[in-house]
């Protein structure tokens, strides 16, 4: 429920006193009419249309990144939210349109006879403007035939993608506790994305995707048993699954394969059964058949009698869970899920790799089996605290190829123990404190060997120096604390704190250790019945220590001496760190009956640190990467003045400032001369005024 201010309550109370008088049944007819009208107004769905104009002060790439307001000009502000109910039949008709004057428009129409049938059609567009503007002579940027330096003079390319999506839905309540739902989606995604190729030439990824999704579900629901089963099918088509690029220094890299079309069909069944008021079991089973048979964009080597991959992935998903309260206060939970992703793509020797190498010419199907289990028990303790002990276990098995480019183990196992105390029902102070200890290990590491000229496995080791981050042994300690405190009637405070430390086991190179800390404080203070002040502050600090070396011997068994570790090529470290601070302050209120005001300021700052060393002693000297900083300040002021009971005006002012000193694109020039403007500074003002009418 929405809490009302005192002023609102008094205004409504006056009207309802009139109702009270009339409800006695003996009031004058005028009072009875007013009563009916007032009750209808309070219980009938509201509708509103809003129209206005907004002005953006400057061209930008951040403020309008997802709304499309990237140009300095006027924009139509048009919204409609129409909700009508025919009370006699319970038929709802809705028409909702948001941002109809912008590229990011939504429009949805639906009808529903509640308790019987319903349908809707929904259109939504999602633009995305890249913050980066290439200055390039590339020709044919939207086509599959691009020419590096094909234009006489460079020009700025606006990099934008847009998704245009239509969703259809139909619901029908059937006899005997059955219900049917059908959802269908068709989406077109077109536009440009930064791309390139070895050389290094600048290219554009000419996006022209089409996606269809169909989901049909039948539900059966009784007090004890609930079942939900259906079909989920997807189809992805890329109209530009190949890119030809001529000119430039990387001309041998053409044509280039772009994402292939693929399809999937899934049948699923989920259910729940209430054995009693305190014991419930759930399950889900799903089988997915996924294929990829896009015509190859280039003719395979002679002897490969295939025109497409014939990719096939079959996935079986099973889940079972039970929750119970066997004795007063004790809650138990057990849950197990298993996913077997079997990549049944035929293995074909597509090409000859000059041996020795870290790969063969065979494609590498990826099969993955995941089994995860969770057991949890909680019991009430003194001081209104509920204690919880939980054990999480996850095992992953992955297949691998005979020749690998990275170190590998087939199985990982992670066990996590969580102990938690939680207080939720006290009046002034609630919160929780949780300690999580997790260990990940796994099967023995496989030794990498190089390939033979015939595509087999030689006895010459490959490189075995790094344990990949998602496979490495890891010990994690995590402490999480939350608190909500109401020290006085007008003030609410909320604290969230997280500290986690990771230690990676195994080899000298790769990830060594990491940590993450997060702290957030929120406050809300009711200055009066009419005014409220809110503020929040959060800080996050994530670290990861990484070691590596350049030009390690390509044949090693994990001995760190494979690294030259010389002044010119040292074993180096990068102590990566991301620090973020975000502050939000808001005030809103109703200084007079028809006027509402709100102000909101948000300041967000992030810093990326790399802390490299030692740097190689070479000529010319390598300059370490500097810290990068990002800053964004957004001020929003808004006002709403009700002219009449049904109409009013709104005004909004936004100032959006962004700055970064990111080194990434500064001073970078592609081999074809293309440069990229990162648009590092932005200061945009937006003013919008609109009128609304309720009906």
């Amino acid at each position: 429920m929405n809490a009302r201010s005192g002023a609102e309550r008094r205004a409504v109370a006056l009207k309802l006193t009139v109702i009270a008088a009339a409800l006695a049944g003996f009031g004058p007819p005028a009072l009875a009419d007013e009563r009916d009208e007032e009750i209808a107004r309070l219980t009938r769905p509201d509708s509103q249309v809003s129209v206005g104009v907004g002005a953006v002060s400057d061209d930008n790439t951040r403020f309008g990144q997802y709304s499309g307001m990237v140009d300095k000009k006027l924009y139509l502000l048009l919204d409609i939210d129409m909700t009508k109910r025919e009370d006699a039949s319970g038929t709802w008709t809705t028409l909702q349109g948001h941002n109809l004057g912008l590229e990011s428009r939504d429009l949805r129409f639906g009808q529903q006879r509640q308790g019987n049938w319903g349908y809707f059609i929904d259109y939504s567009a999602i633009p995305r403007y890249s913050p980066y503007t290439p200055i390039t002579r590339l020709a044919g940027e939207d086509s599959q035939s691009q020419v590096v330096n094909g234009l006489p003079t460079p020009r700025a390319l606006q990099m934008e993608t847009i998704r245009q999506r239509v969703d259809l839905g139909f619901d029908k309540l059937l006899p005997s506790n059955f219900e049917m739902q059908v959802r269908a989606r068709s989406e077109e995604k077109t536009g440009r994305r930064l791309f390139g190729r070895s050389g290094v030439d600048f290219l554009v990824d000419p996006i022209d995707y089409s996606t269809q999704i169909l989901e049909a579900t039948a539900n059966y629901t009784t007090e004890r048993l609930q079942l939900s089963g259906g079909f989920y099918g997807t189809n992805f088509v890329n109209s530009k699954a190949k890119l030809d690029a001529t000119g430039g220094t990387g001309s041998s890299f053409s044509p280039i394969a772009l994402p292939p079309g693929n399809q999937s069909q899934q049948f699923n069944l989920a259910g729940g059964y209430n054995f009693s008021q305190t014991t419930r079991a759930t399950f889900k089973a799903a089988y997915t058949h996924q294929t990829q048979d896009e015509q190859f964009m280039d003719t395979p080597a002679s002897g490969v009698n295939r025109s497409s991959l014939g990719g096939e992935v079959n996935t079986l998903f099973l889940q079972g869970g039970i929750t119970a309260r066997p004795i007063r206060g004790l809650t138990l939970l057990a849950n197990v899920r298993h996913e077997d992703r079997h990549d049944a793509t035929p293995i074909v020797d597509y090409f000859v790799v000059s041996a020795p190498s870290t790969a063969t010419g065979e494609n590498e199907p990826r099969s993955i089996r995941t089994t995860a289990a969770k057991f949890e028990a909680s019991y009430p303790l003194p001081w209104q605290i509920r204690g919880t002990a939980a054990l999480d276990y996850e095992q992953k098995w992955r297949n691998t190829s005979s020749v690998r480019v990275v170190s590998y183990r087939e199985k990982t196992e992670e066990t996590a123990l969580r102990l938690e105390g939680r207080r939720t029902l006290a009046e002034t102070l609630n919160g929780s404190l949780a300690l999580i200890v997790a260990d990940r290990g796994g099967s023995d590491w496989l030794t990498n060997f190089q390939s033979t000229p015939s595509g087999g496995v030689s006895t010459t080791p490959g490189s075995n120096l790094v344990h990949p981050l998602h496979l490495a042994d890891r010990h994690r300690n995590k402490l999480r604390a939350t608190a909500t405190w109401t020290p006085m009637e007008r003030l609410d405070l909320q604290f969230v704190g997280d500290v986690a430390k990771d230690t990676y086991g195994g080899r000298t190179l790769g990830l060594d250790k990491g940590s993450a800390a997060f702290l957030s404080v929120d406050g809300a203070y009711r200055l009066s019945d009419a005014w409220q002040l809110t503020a929040w502050l959060s800080r996050d600090d994530t670290k990861a220590d990484l070691h590596s070396c350049a030009s390690a011997a390509s044949s090693n068994l994990g001995d760190i001496s494979a690294c030259p570790n010389s002044p010119a090529s040292p074993i180096w470290s990068a102590n990566l760190r991301n620090v973020g601070n975000t502050l939000g302050i808001g005030v809103k209120g109703r200084p007079t009956g028809p006027l509402q005001l709100a102000a909101d300021l948000q300041i967000s700052k992030q810093r990326g640190e790399f802390n490299q060393g030692p740097m190689p002693v070479v000529t010319p000297a390598v300059t370490a990467v500097p810290d990068v900083n990002y800053s964004r300040k957004i001020l929003r002021l808004s006002g709403d003045y009700a002219l009449t009971k049904r109409s009013g005006v709104r005004a909004q002012f936004i100032q959006d400032r962004f700055h970064t000193d990111d080194y990434t694109w500064a001073g970078w020039t592609y081999s074809d001369g293309t440069t990229v403007n990162p648009n590092s500074d932005q200061r945009v003002n937006f003013i919008g005024v609109s009128g609304y009418y309720n009906f």
Partner: protein, 314 residues
């Protein structure tokens, strides 16, 4: 003061017009829900928590025989309706949902589950939300026409009431369009529970990402193992400072897995060294870093290896 005086006078007038006690006993009409008269004789829109707006919601559609009355959710509340003579304060309803309610969370939630179980809520009871004492009313405004959590423009703020880290992340420079209401929490997560991990709408992280990013699904002639296993190994979907929602920027992200032979262990720098992509220096750091050449990092369907491009370069 004038408002209070006017209210008092109107009450007096109503008693006079209605004939005093006889009027009090007249049968009252339901206002919003079938059978709500015994509640709305006291509770109306002048409450701190107004009740009549429930009539604007699906719960208030009286033509649908399934819709509830007040006591369907709040319990019979006999002592609340008829205050015992020896009680100094009026007892609360049998089931109350406010922040100061002492009613156990599972009892409050059962009031909703009585009708709303099954379908996408089948897995509610073993969801993280249920086991962490989240009440339905913690997120849903049952008495309001516009339930903030069911509106994609306001939903994230409801979720951020607890999920503070995600609130900070969506304010980072690289993010999904959450603030614009284009990709919201419930597009990826089912807060009512799911069979898979992280309350995701599909059974795995990747299957959830593929709903919008199906071009990454493959399978490909050359596959990148972590891509097939879990998108979240490299990406943080809630927001980062690195392009493409990468957890760390290249080359350091890549160096967390890849062996340091050849150029792969090159130390990043912004000037000096060799400018090419093959050794220490700016070639492996600037612009898109490793992705300058390895453009098809999610996998490539190229069946050839003419110039050693099998490493996701063509």
């Amino acid at each position: 003061v004038s408002t209070s005086l006017l209210r008092f006078l109107l009450f007096i007038a109503s008693f006079l017009l209605a004939g005093g006690a006889a009027a009090q006993q007249a049968e009252r009409k339901d206002l919003a829900l079938t059978g709500d008269a015994k509640c709305t004789r006291c509770h109306d829109e002048s409450e701190e928590y107004p009740v009549l707006a429930i009539g604007k919601t699906k719960h208030g559609t009286r033509a649908d025989a399934r819709t509830p009355t007040c006591t369907s959710c709040h319990g019979m509340s006999d002592t609340h309706i008829n205050k015992p003579a020896d009680a100094t304060e009026r007892p609360r309803p049998t089931v109350s949902f406010g922040r100061k309610s002492a009613v156990p969370i599972e009892v409050r939630n059962q009031a909703c589950l009585t009708c709303h179980q099954g379908g996408k809520r089948i897995h509610w009871q073993n969801s993280t939300h249920a086991t962490r004492d989240v009440a339905c009313s913690s997120c849903h405004q049952v008495h309001a026409q516009h339930d903030a959590v069911r509106d994609k423009f306001t939903q994230p703020q409801v979720c951020f009431a607890c999920h503070k880290e995600q609130r900070a992340e969506i304010n980072r420079p690289v993010r999904h369009p959450v603030q614009e209401g284009k990709v919201v929490c419930s597009d990826c997560h089912n807060p009512h529970g799911s069979a898979g991990e992280k309350l995701l709408v599909r059974d795995s992280v990747n299957d959830t990402c593929y709903v919008c990013h199906m071009e990454k699904r493959g399978p490909f002639v050359r596959t990148h193992q972590p891509v097939q296993e879990n998108c979240a190994i490299c990406h943080n979907p809630h927001g980062t400072v690195n392009d493409n929602l990468l957890r760390y920027r290249a080359p350091w992200l890549c160096q967390q897995c890849h062996e340091p032979t050849s150029h792969r262990g090159a130390i990043a720098g912004v000037t000096g060294g060799a400018a090419s992509s093959n050794s220490s220096g700016i070639g492996v750091t600037m612009a898109r870093s490793c992705l300058n050449c390895h453009t098809n990092i999610h996998g490539t369907n190229n069946p050839k290896d003419v110039t050693n491009e099998r490493t996701f370069r063509r």
